[in-house]
Symmetry: C2
Subunit: 428 residues, 2 copies
């Protein structure tokens, strides 16, 4: 009988407990599929006395994850602690140096240190797998790195933070403003301890940077992700976008443009009847576009005990079966330094503004847009009995620079009330 | 430098040409990802003189695919010829016996001979990969066999014949009857030479039987698939189902029930606003449900040169990288003989019938349903100025046997005009 694959599990939160449950419930099935038994030999967490609802009695306990990572009876270090510095990083490095493979759910760690860790792993003949780090239970790292490996990738998109999508969906369905729904989400426990990780787009940006590296053969460059959270999305814009046939999503987009690699994680409009537009609540969706395959859409739970543990186990079973890949799909030393192109790709834009009730106001805005090289596709002016006039404009494609230029020139028209809102419309 | 992986490509139709294009266009990228060069050494097809729009001059030509499969300069036999007997089968067996790995797009061959071929391959230490055989460019075999390997699978569903989905979508959008749209599809070249492979559900049934084997660890049992094509789907039912919030899809469902493995490829109603209900035209969708991950939905092109070649290349690159798995995810000799359970799982049903304009007609039908143990969830009777009355019923969950029993008992009521239509409503 082949030797068992022995796991050291660092982190006994939601995901760690999920991994234990799968291994305890499905030992025979997993052995059949993996070709060898998979067992946990040791675990590590902060509090050894806490009742986690699973039987830990068969596992050695290490209070220090670094010690866990270096144990002789561990083949694979499974890191589900989180945090991009400190113990998680130290233990991951220690595991690689000690000759262990690593399976991690830690998007922040890889977004910040993925290149170094990948180079370390590959120089030592070790693998790092991270399916659980991106889009929870959706096997998107595998689809991109392996299934679509014959494609030159054109674009990768995703709604990859369930909390943000929950908030935006709930704002639309309830008509409640952002601050109210944010507070609801906090009370429901949907938010990270630092909510900016969610609503500021940081968590989703981490994930996007990992997908971009694989898709385009470039070093992970999270710092080059254009980040904009959902805090400024208003209920007015959600309603008005709906009137025009769109929904607002915190959408990540990575694509290689003529000017370099563009990575954005920003609120975007997408058609309400598209798969991305239809996505409700905490579900995640990733769209992969390749030159041979066209468009593949993957949808599933982006977080939670079972889905994330499922992704961890997929990686562990891959290792048990002998699959050994470079972390980002090609040797880390061959990954290119990407030239960061911020908002290079042109797009249609949604513009919402309020105009003073003056003759010729709309003409002045239209003229300013035209002079900035932005042409109007659709326009809607709402009724305004004696007051100021809300106006919606959907433009033809324009670069962000041209759009911002146009908006800057609106001020000189003297017909605006307040500031205009501009949101990119992503073609999906 | 690692040795190149050498392919023998049997079949130079759409898919074969697509594979050649990818290899010729992306040689450097593929080598980077695969860790070694991938090259075609020899090809085989019926007509050596035909212009296929690609340069074949670098490849040896074999008129006999069996000879191709056995060439010393071939490591992987790529079978994109089609046909479940004859040359495709002989060449695949010859390749395995000669020590080659096999990548195939041939769903019919595997649905009929998958168990034998897998046993042969595994006894010889060879692998058979078949991503291209199911749902075209969607990496669903990989997602199920690898990504979700930690899950006990609960249900697998799919719309996996683009031609059928095109016909049903077109019937709905145009209001044209089946025969008309079928003829359109034929003229557009969407149909197989034997159209029953498409519209009879056979092609999609082949694919379902392969997914079921992997999901439930059972031998491929295509003969146990309950097959019903779309030929009897009427424009009336498409309209009436729409009125009740449903769309009709040729939907494959495999699930393990208390009575055994249920495999169905039949027209079903799904909610219009579900991902399956939203699926338009020739696109495919597969839904994978596991006990840890919950529900994963994969959507993409189910056929065509690029998508299918993308799937072939994913398998080829896997082999180049050293991934070696049993054909159906666990050793073929351990696959169970499934007990076939036909329509064991209860479901809600859509019933459409026409009643004579007689007092108490509807009550008689309701009574007959009740006596068969089928309860009514929703009912709609359409206006009938002086004539017969169209009636729609959505039932609560009932087994197919109970439903058929109820329908058989309608005859005795003497109030029916013509035959009632019953279509299963799948919970998605």
């Amino acid at each position: 009988m082949p030797a068992p694959l022995r796991l050291g599990l660092a982190g006994l939160g939601t995901v760690g407990v999920g991994v234990i449950k799968i291994i305890q419930q499905h030992a025979a099935m997993i052995e059949m599929r993996a070709g060898r038994p998979i067992m946990i030999t040791a675990v590590s967490a902060r509090d050894p006395s806490k009742d986690r609802g699973v039987d830990l009695s068969g596992y050695a306990w290490e209070s220090d994850p670094v010690a866990l990572a270096m144990r002789d009876d561990v083949d694979v270090f499974v890191e589900v602690m989180g945090g991009h510095e400190g113990a998680a990083k130290a233990a991951t490095e220690a595991a690689l140096t000690a000759g262990k493979d690593v399976v991690t759910a830690n998007k922040a760690l890889l977004a910040h240190s993925g290149q170094d860790l990948a180079e370390t792993a590959e120089s030592l003949g070790r693998v790092i797998r991270f399916e659980a780090a991106v889009a929870g239970g959706i096997p998107v790292i595998k689809a991109l790195t392996e299934g679509l490996a014959g494609n030159g990738m054109r674009r990768v998109m995703g709604v990859m933070n369930g909390t943000c999508n929950y908030i935006l969906t709930r704002m639309e369905s309830s008509g409640l403003p952002y601050d109210h729904v944010f507070e609801e989400a906090r009370q429901l426990g949907y938010l990270e301890a630092d909510p900016q990780l969610d609503v500021g787009g940081i968590d989703a940006g981490h994930k996007l940077s990992l997908l971009a590296s694989i898709a385009f053969g470039t070093k992970v460059s999270f710092d080059a992700v254009e980040l904009e959270g959902i805090g400024d999305v208003s209920i007015d814009d959600i309603r008005r976008a709906g009137d025009m046939g769109y929904r607002i999503k915190l959408l990540g987009v990575a694509q290689m443009t003529g000017r370099g690699l563009e990575q954005r994680m920003t609120p975007c409009l997408v058609p309400s009847d598209s798969p991305l537009g239809q996505l409700q609540g905490g579900t995640n969706m990733v769209v992969l576009e390749g030159d041979a395959v066209g468009q593949i859409v993957l949808r599933g739970p982006g977080a939670g005990e079972g889905p994330t543990a499922s992704a961890v186990m997929g990686d562990v079973i891959d290792i048990a079966r002998g699959l050994r890949l470079p972390t980002f799909g090609q040797p880390a030393t061959t990954l290119a330094d990407p030239v960061a192109a911020r908002s290079a790709a042109p797009a249609a834009w949604y513009l919402r503004m309020t105009l003073q009730d003056k003759p010729g106001a709309l003409a002045k805005i239209a003229t300013a847009l035209g002079e900035a090289g932005v042409s109007i596709n659709r326009m809607r002016q709402y009724g305004h009995p004696g007051g100021d006039a809300p106006v919606l404009i959907v433009t033809h494609k324009a670069t962000r620079d041209d759009m911002m230029h146009a908006i800057a020139s609106f001020a000189a028209t003297g017909v605006l009330v307040g500031n205009p809102v501009a949101i990119r419309i992503e073609e999906v």
